[in-house]
Symmetry: C2
């Protein structure tokens, strides 16, 4: 039996391939297997297209892993178990496996669900290479300070009920709403009702050729079909 | 009069020089002036020592800028005005100036205070290159997911009064306490009183040779003198 490989979680940032860190690029160049999450068979992986912007992946073993966009817990569990088994199999052959994730691997990523499952199936070590978050990239794009001095920030997924989001908007200097795509209409209604529409900024795929940035007021997005990886930042006192 | 240069805010991450992004490195290599914040005359700049880990700065004009650690508003204002004037002077000579900042330039950084002051003094454009935050690097180092699924995160500077921090600990899945160095004793008392000491993780200078990481319980840090750039993460359900 060879020594098991290392299981890497590598953040590739939100869109612009140049937002990979030097460490992420070095790790990905050295790994024999690149594990790539996809939400549908035959679909494309945004994380992989970011990677192709900075390195040649020919010669790499690309392991496509299917994670359907569903709330069906049994289906989710089965897809994660299957992915972990395939990853563990490669690790147990002595290969290093680098799982690429949009943004940062420790922030709302599939990678963190896989870690315990892979550990059950392999004695491999786990290492995480952090990535630029969507909100850091969006704030940079807009030159919008997320926080100064003693300001407080809340990061909240938009799926929370509207009362929770209203409380966040009332209580914090900066509110970062994650994964807003399915919730955009009710969020816009709330922001308008609170008089905060003009303080809200939207972005998806910051720094990518198909980026979308709305820097002043988001009501124009009502009824739109948006990218999964979309974020809104609201500043109480911009 | 030459065209003014561009004023760049460049995040260099929290410690490990390999956590610079490809874009940060390219920007810093191309800029003629590297502006370096320091807290004392004759002291060293951590941001600059990170940079020296990945590039040769000989041949660059290094502009040292003094920002004393003080709450005296007049003194702070004067030091920022002086820095902005020196930066604007270089920009107006047509030089690109890259101001390096620990972590991310849009998160608790001096850079965001300088932007309006530099704009008053120069017609230069401003661009921001995001950086890896201390908490992303710390979470990666510990393989600690900051948030999964619909979990909510609060980012709060430790200078807030203890009641505010208690409320944060009671209400959130993940609490990121920034700049904990001066507050460490009262934070540890609070964490112990709330039964959360075992859920708290401390780190400073993640990935740097002199990094300090305490992954399980922080009470051992009581009474210690800590680095300015220190962070605690508390997970309610780790």
């Amino acid at each position: 039996m060879p020594e098991p490989g290392v299981f890497y979680g590598v953040g590739v940032g939100p869109g612009d391939p140049e937002l990979l860190t030097l460490k992420a690029l070095r790790t990905l160049k050295a790994a024999s297997v690149i594990a790539v999450p996809k939400s549908s068979d035959g679909g494309s992986s945004r994380a992989l297209s970011i990677l192709k912007g900075v390195m040649d992946i020919s010669g790499k073993e690309v392991m496509e892993l299917l994670f359907p966009m569903t709330k069906d817990k049994a289906l989710l569990g089965a897809s994660r178990a299957d992915a972990a088994s395939r990853i563990a199999c490669a690790l147990n052959e002595g290969k290093d496996v680098a799982f690429i994730t949009l943004g940062d691997p420790m922030l709302y990523s599939t990678f963190s669900y896989l870690v315990p499952l892979v550990r059950e199936r392999s004695g491999a070590g786990v290492r995480v290479i952090p990535g630029i978050t969507s909100f850091s990239a969006g704030a940079a794009r807009l030159c919008l300070p997320l926080a100064e001095s003693d300001e407080r920030i809340i990061i909240i997924p938009a799926a929370h009920d509207i009362g929770e989001i209203k409380k966040a908007l009332e209580g914090f200097d900066t509110v970062i709403l994650m994964k807003v795509n399915r919730e955009i209409d009710r969020l816009i209604d709330l922001l308008c009702a609170e008089g905060l529409d003009g303080n809200a900024m939207f972005f998806s795929r910051a720094g990518w050729p198909d980026e979308e940035v709305v820097s002043c007021g988001v009501r124009e997005l009502k009824g739109r079909r948006l990218d999964y990886f979309s974020t809104i930042i609201v500043k109480r006192n911009p």
